[in-house]
């Protein structure tokens, strides 16, 4: 019997290796590995929904000597979303890179990134998390620079160096924890963690390093240039998945590892940074002149919402309040992952057709690319949080929790952020429509457009309507 957790990591890894060996078959092997990885990830998610959490020890080696994998509800939810998005990105990329030189480099790096992501959700010890973070950062920076322009190389060089500084900081935190508790296993360390200077320092170092990688305001400055200069499928993966991985780790460590020592004022600090990110990111997105820059700044804002949950989770009165906030967090993160991927893929189509992504000159895009524009609109609506998207329910729960815990000041931040999001999405849609004749075809490039469109539909309808199964998956 093959281990489903190991399979979820093995499929993309095999994809990367086989494509490196047989570059002529890159696109075919790529789709094969993508479908395999997605099926095994969905298999893991359904198994977790049935039986709680899954664990395995690779090669039968016991922890602490061997490498253990674990999927609980939170990990399984992200695993499923990430693999669906990655499948969409792969299908899109098979068209996007069909006749460009970059495809020889894209496919192996892309599958290495995918391997790192899947391993990150399933890792259960602090050092494997470090390794997956580094693999993710290295392959993401290399992918981001694929377009080869000066702008993209210098932006991704900065991303690489800052990412490295972030993970070194994280690693020092891990070293401090190992000094104090003699273990790297998340569960074992969490059990023996006691308040004290060394665990507080470890917490600050690890959360700080991860915040840099997650582009949490004011450490977000590297994100917009890096994400806006990459090829569109890569931007989709970077913005939807890679940044999400780091903020997921912040939450996971905060709740699972540092629950005993992470106090309300530290949570409030992260929440305030998140609130500033919401306002600043949304404002910059509203002012952005290019479509990709708009999408990148909107990611900064969405990461802000995710950080804003921390003080409210800390202040939640009972277990039920905490659980519903956790579900809301996951709904927001999943919706953003799907919507932002779709947004970037559609942007890539616009850019390929019109030759630029300047918002002011988008006129007629709706007529020449109806499906892509529709995807932009749907993804935009999901980003704003119109019902029935997951963002809508998440913001609803967030506002309720803010009022219930007396932290009313988050409510105007959420309202203003939503209003600004409304502004930047409608500004772009208003530009996209002109009075040109209606096109004869809705779809111009089936594979490329449908993957963007399906991801947008999933973001707008799928996550929100699947809120109950997602809550079940999280064990609520």
């Amino acid at each position: 019997m093959l281990d489903p957790l190991a399979l979820a990591v093995a499929w993309p890894l095999l994809g990367a290796l086989s494509i490196t060996l047989l570059p002529r078959w890159a696109a075919h092997l790529g789709i094969l590995a993508a479908v395999g990885a997605t099926l095994s990830a969905l298999g893991v998610a359904f198994a977790v929904m049935d039986s709680g959490s899954l664990t395995s020890e690779l090669g039968g080696w016991k922890i602490p000597l061997g490498i253990g994998l674990r999927a609980d509800g939170l990990a399984a939810a992200f695993l499923a979303m990430v693999n669906l998005v990655a499948l969409g990105v792969s299908i899109h990329a098979s068209v996007y890179f069909a006749d460009s030189k970059a495809r020889h480099h894209f496919w192996p790096l892309w599958f290495l990134l995918w391997t790192a992501l899947n391993a990150l959700w399933l890792a259960r010890d602090l050092f494997n998390l470090y390794v997956t973070l580094e693999l993710m950062g290295l392959s993401a920076a290399a992918l981001g620079a694929l377009s080869g322009t000066r702008e993209s190389i210098s932006a991704n060089l900065r991303y690489l160096l800052l990412g490295l500084a972030g993970s070194m900081t994280y690693l020092l935190g891990v070293a401090l924890l190992y000094v104090a508790y003699g273990s790297l296993d998340l569960v074992q360390v969490a059990r023996s963690l006691a308040p004290g200077p060394s665990s507080a320092a470890a917490c600050a170092l690890m959360i700080g390093g991860l915040s840099l990688k997650a582009a949490l305001f004011p450490l977000h400055f590297w994100l917009p240039p890096a994400h806006a200069s990459a090829p569109a499928p890569v931007s989709a993966a970077l913005s939807a998945l890679v940044v999400k991985a780091a903020i997921y780790l912040v939450l996971r460590l905060w709740l699972d590892l540092f629950a005993g020592i992470a106090n309300a004022s530290a949570a409030m600090l992260l929440g305030l940074l998140g609130g500033s990110a919401v306002l600043w990111g949304s404002w910059q997105a509203l002012r952005a002149e290019r479509l990709k820059l708009l999408a990148a700044y909107s990611t900064v804002a969405q990461i802000g919402y995710l950080a804003m949950f921390l003080p409210l989770i800390a202040a939640a009165a009972d277990e039920r309040g905490r659980a519903s906030l956790l579900v809301a967090w996951v709904l927001l993160a999943l919706t953003h992952g799907l919507a932002k991927a779709s947004f970037f893929l559609a942007t890539g189509l616009v850019q390929k057709t019109t030759g630029h992504d300047r918002i002011a000159e988008l006129g007629g895009a709706a007529q020449s690319l109806p499906a892509a524009t529709f995807a932009l609109g749907l993804a935009g609506a999901a980003l704003i949080g119109l019902p029935p998207s997951g963002t809508f329910f998440a913001k609803w729960i967030l506002i309720q929790a803010a009022i219930a815990s007396g932290q009313w000041w988050w409510v105007p931040v959420i309202m203003l952020g939503t209003l600004l999001a409304l502004g930047y999405v409608f500004r772009l849609l208003a530009r996209a429509f002109t009075r040109e004749p209606t096109p004869p075809h809705f779809v111009t490039s089936a594979r490329a457009e449908l993957s963007a469109l399906l991801l947008a539909v999933l973001a707008m309808l799928g996550v929100g309507l699947a809120a109950r199964p997602i809550a079940n998956l999280l064990g609520v």
Binding site: P64, F127, Y130, V131, E134, G137, L138, A141, A142, A145, G148, R150, I153, S154, N156, L157, L160, L161, L164, A165, M168, T169, L171, L172, V174, A175, L176, Y178, V179, L184
Partner: protein, 99 residues
């Protein structure tokens, strides 16, 4: 624990922390690629220093293998990252020459 071992661990551990701080400071303060890259490698050495100090259990005993494994993996990662950063830097310089 033997006080001599403890003092050795503390000494090397503190040197590691000092290297980490020096590297981070220089990474933040300086602009150029080479300086920042070297600063990051100093940061890495600092962290590895701490881990090696943790592993030390006296001259008679074998050291704790787990931190050593971490350091080895960490060195591999740091070398790969440095190589990638250098490759980026060379691309940028080549483009400068052509421009």
């Amino acid at each position: 624990m033997n006080p001599e071992i403890l003092i050795t661990q503390m000494l090397y551990g503190c040197i590691g922390l000092a290297l980490f701080l020096l590297g981070i400071g220089s990474f933040i303060l300086h602009e150029g690629l080479w300086r920042r890259l070297i600063a990051l490698n100093v940061v890495g050495s600092g962290v590895f220093h701490v881990l090696v100090a943790v592993a030390y259990r006296g001259l008679e005993q074998t050291p704790d293998p787990i931190p050593h494994a971490l350091v080895l993996t960490g060195i591999v990662v740091a070398v790969s990252a440095t190589a990638l950063a250098l490759a980026f830097g060379r691309h940028l310089e080549d483009q400068n020459d052509h421009a």
